[in-house]
Point group: C2
């Protein structure tokens, strides 16, 4: 039987076996949504690096016209970088055939922590069905990991996990009923259903992004199954 | 305005300001319920110590007839200890006028992590109204901290936090609507209402305790407002 488990906070990874598992990293606002958009728009690679200085250093290994630096601190583009962390910036004309070196706090840190997993995929509302299809075909344990916000629980990531669990409940009926976090995530799905924009507007980080003028990012990230990767 | 925030996992404490705050530690199954029971039954003191060996050492500082060693590992009484972590053992005839030196994993570890808080109180279903009264009268920020289980989210602690938040929603109307974890905890309250035994029987740790023959502890811990301390 497939085992499915949700972690609300990356720190929980410390107490979790990763070997042989499929890890789904969920950082809806906005790293996951940005990565998925860039890959769907034909970027040739996506390299996550925690420190902006190391990201700049890494970029020197590529031809200048082949690489882009992307990332944020507190929602705002890093100085000297080409792109921020708004998925709307990662259009086809900007990213096609370019390698993106990417630095954000929560999402990249979470990726660093799961290096030992068997497979890592990126989860967001934008590619939810594709994630569910991949999980359905995976033979082994599955971990849904919410990136959260500054080491704390975040509503939008947990709700996205809940929607994934809900989609998988017929495939893994037992796994989806067993764990405390799975049950709670599904409860969020039951509350909000497919009203994803409402989830993002309700969440603390969503309200913060709105307050710095990024309400269009909320709308973009709320599009269910916009991409199929 | 009073600020109220819920942390689902003790690791979140690292990213949280404790100074000046009232911390409510919630470890329903079973450390919180045991501490509250012992205090209500007249123990003269409760000293939490992480390591069983250090607990034994500490006990030597007391007259033998004045001290009891209590605690568990994986739900079971520690070898050489007087009591386990079942609140039903902490009867008046056993604990009155005794100091209890207490060692459990999740609850005690969480207590260690909040030493810098201004006030620390213990939350459980057994003393929920008393906790709410204390919070109502506190002038300053309030943190509800779920002890969880082995560093992971636990349903029963989050649901207890949700019930506290629900009780305080008229006292701190804004604070109770703002945070992602508060909203999610209240959702658990809305799902289960006052069916506390159902929460405990649904939770992973509750099911584990039942599997080792401790279903009576679930019934005991599910009694709402059994004590008024």
């Amino acid at each position: 039987m497939n085992n499915l488990e949700t972690l609300f906070i990356p720190e929980e990874i410390k107490n979790t076996e990763l070997a042989g598992k499929l890890v789904v990293i969920i950082d809806v606002l906005r790293a996951s949504s940005t990565v998925v958009t860039a890959l769907a728009n034909g970027c040739s690679g996506f390299i996550p690096i925690l420190s902006p200085d190391q990201a700049k250093k890494k970029a020197q290994q590529f031809k200048k016209e082949r690489v882009l630096l992307g990332g944020e601190r507190e929602g705002i583009k890093i100085e000297g970088f080409d792109l921020g962390n708004s998925p709307r910036e990662y259009k086809r004309e900007a990213v096609k055939d370019r390698t993106i070196i990417f630095s954000t706090t929560n999402g990249v840190k979470t990726l660093e922590m799961v290096k030992d997993a068997h497979r890592i995929i990126i989860g967001s509302f934008l590619n939810l069905q594709a994630v569910c299809n991949y999980c359905t075909n995976y033979r082994g344990g599955i971990l849904l990991i919410c990136a959260g916000k500054e080491g704390k629980f975040s509503l939008e990531d947990a709700a996205c996990a809940g929607m994934i669990i809900n989609s998988l409940k017929d495939v893994f009926p037992v796994a989806c009923q067993q764990a405390d976090a799975d049950l709670t995530a599904r409860l969020l799905y039951e509350k909000f259903g497919n009203n994803i924009l409402e989830i993002l507007q309700t969440s603390q980080h969503g309200r913060y992004l709105e307050s710095i003028g990024l309400e269009k990012d909320l709308k973009f990230c709320s599009q269910l199954d916009f991409f199929h990767i």
